[in-house]
């Protein structure tokens, strides 16, 4: 049983909150008292942030569409197939035919890596996210 300080993923306020972990499961959250934004409280979304982490609907295995249906696959299959498809489009039409959406919910490091991937491996500046939505 322990608490891990992290940053809330709902909205741009960026509250500091503790995730309460028991037996490897996140089973609660609470605000940080001294964090400059959360200052001892969270909004209703922050207080219930753990509920989506453990949800049974979480995706847990890669899926590939086979005969029109998304079907569980191995990581190797999914990665190989994706790389092959993106590579084919890049080689046939250049990178201009590939679009990449990064995420305002993912970390800075992941966003950095994905735009770098788009601009180098795929050779395209078609990279954006839902900044305006």
């Amino acid at each position: 049983m322990h608490d891990v300080l992290t940053t809330c993923v709902y909205c741009g306020c960026g509250c500091g909150l503790y995730l309460h972990v028991e037996d490897g499961l996140v089973c609660g959250s609470q605000p940080s008292r001294h964090h400059p934004v959360s200052r001892d409280n969270l909004c209703v979304k922050g207080w219930h942030i753990h509920e989506s982490v453990n949800h049974p609907d979480r995706l847990t295995t890669p899926l590939i569409r086979k005969n029109g249906v998304l079907t569980p696959a191995t990581w190797e299959e999914a990665l190989d197939f994706t790389a092959q498809q993106l590579g084919r489009i890049r080689d046939q039409h250049t990178g201009k035919a590939i679009g990449v959406l990064t995420s305002a919910k993912c970390t800075n490091e992941e966003n950095y890596l994905l735009q770098k991937f788009a601009r180098t491996a795929l050779g395209t500046n078609n990279v954006d996210h839902c900044a305006r939505l």
């Binding site: 049983m1 322990h2 608490d3 300080l5 500091g16 503790y18 309460h20 028991e22 037996d23 089973c27 609660g28 959250s29 609470q30 605000p31 940080s32 008292r33 001294h34 964090h35 200052r39 001892d40 409280n41 969270l42 909004c43 209703v44 207080w47 753990h50 509920e51 049974p56």
Partner: protein, 353 residues
């Protein structure tokens, strides 16, 4: 209140020896104490490494013991769908015997209240399996925080009973009073750490109590508000003003050490199995009283807020002889809009004092 009763024997524990005593305890118990972490927050924490933990007995911790006995989300049962219906099995959890060290009087009073809720009329096995085997070591509060008002709710700053051992900080030493048998057993077991206390120490304890009582920065007229609620004379505009400013976060109920409302929900995991979860709930949420068909007997926000304060300050006084607010002040600093219990008491008493 302040004088040690004749039957309780009291001892001294030098501050230099506290860590050694805790180290002994940690060998036989899981140890939970308020720890100031590297982010400067003070939380009740399970201590794995006593030398790395900075135990903080002055500043009240931001969480109470509630989450240890009634976790925010707890799996009560797992179930399988069988042809004959559902087959429920209680989740197995082993909670090690735990010493809760450094519990302030407000939080101790709150645990006693929760004990009443979860064991007096109906025994709640899930609460009790976490609560049983726990040892409470309290520490009287020498320095109430700015939002504290336990003096107005009869739950501090010093407490005579309720814990297994009760400590009072007397500068270089703690006065240790035995509250219950498990406390007595601890002292018996590790006699070497303790020495007998004398009249001088009792006098110092009384002096510390008087000083602590003088350190409250708020005068909160809880009793007056209780009388107003009992008489039904709280002006309607007070509820309206409070509800307009409530931002519906639920933080007051979640941080409150005596708010014990919960909701039970079933979560299907796959086609043949699922789990039954219990999680904290707050009476100020609109959905708290909503019924399956859509009807909600508590229609307006004003009614929900009224319900909250009636429960804490009127109904619990009727039932238990004292309010279930323990004056810890947690809801005061958390509130987004200013709908906390202190603001309520101030508004309700405006003009009547």
């Amino acid at each position: 209140m302040p004088h040690a009763s004749a039957t309780t024997s009291s001892h001294l524990l030098k501050k230099d020896h506290l860590k050694g005593f805790l180290r002994k305890l940690a060998k036989e118990y899981r140890l939970v104490a308020p720890v100031r972490n590297r982010h400067n927050d003070v939380l009740f924490t399970v201590i794995d490494d006593l030398d790395a933990a900075e135990i903080e007995l002055g500043e009240p911790p931001q969480n109470s013991l509630k989450q240890f006995f009634l976790p925010q989300q707890e799996r009560l049962y797992s179930y399988t769908n069988t042809p004959d219906g559902y087959d429920f099995r209680p989740t197995q959890t082993t909670i090690p015997p735990t010493v809760y060290f450094g519990v302030h009087p407000c939080d101790l009073s709150a645990v006693l209240y929760m004990d009443v809720v979860f064991s007096r009329r109906q025994r709640d096995p899930f609460y009790l399996r976490r609560r049983q085997g726990s040892v409470l070591i309290g520490v009287n509060c020498n320095s109430p925080a700015p939002n504290c008002f336990c003096n107005a709710t009869g739950s501090g700053p010093f407490l005579e009973m309720g814990s297994d051992l009760q400590l009072t900080d007397l500068g270089d030493r703690f006065l240790v009073e035995i509250g219950r048998a498990p406390g007595h057993a601890l002292i018996e077991h590790w006699q070497g750490f303790f020495s007998p206390s004398g009249d001088k120490d009792s006098a110092a304890r009384y002096q510390a109590f008087l000083e602590a009582r003088g350190r409250f920065s708020r005068q909160v007229h809880v009793e007056q508000a209780i009388r107003q609620l009992e008489a039904g004379t709280v002006p309607e505009q007070v509820w309206e003003e409070l509800s307009l400013r409530c931002q519906d976060c639920g933080g007051c109920a979640y941080l409150c050490p005596t708010c014990t409302c919960f909701t039970i929900s079933d979560q299907q995991l796959d086609a043949t199995s699922g789990q039954r979860l219990r999680s904290w709930d707050a009476c100020t949420f609109g959905g708290f009283t909503a019924m399956t068909g859509g009807h909600n007997p508590v229609q307006a926000k004003t009614s929900a807020i009224r319900q909250r304060f009636l429960h804490k300050l009127r109904d619990d006084v009727r039932q238990n002889g004292r309010p279930s607010c323990v004056g810890c002040g947690r809801c005061v600093s958390v509130c987004f809009g200013g709908t906390d219990i202190v603001r309520f008491v101030e508004r309700a008493c405006q003009g009547s004092l």
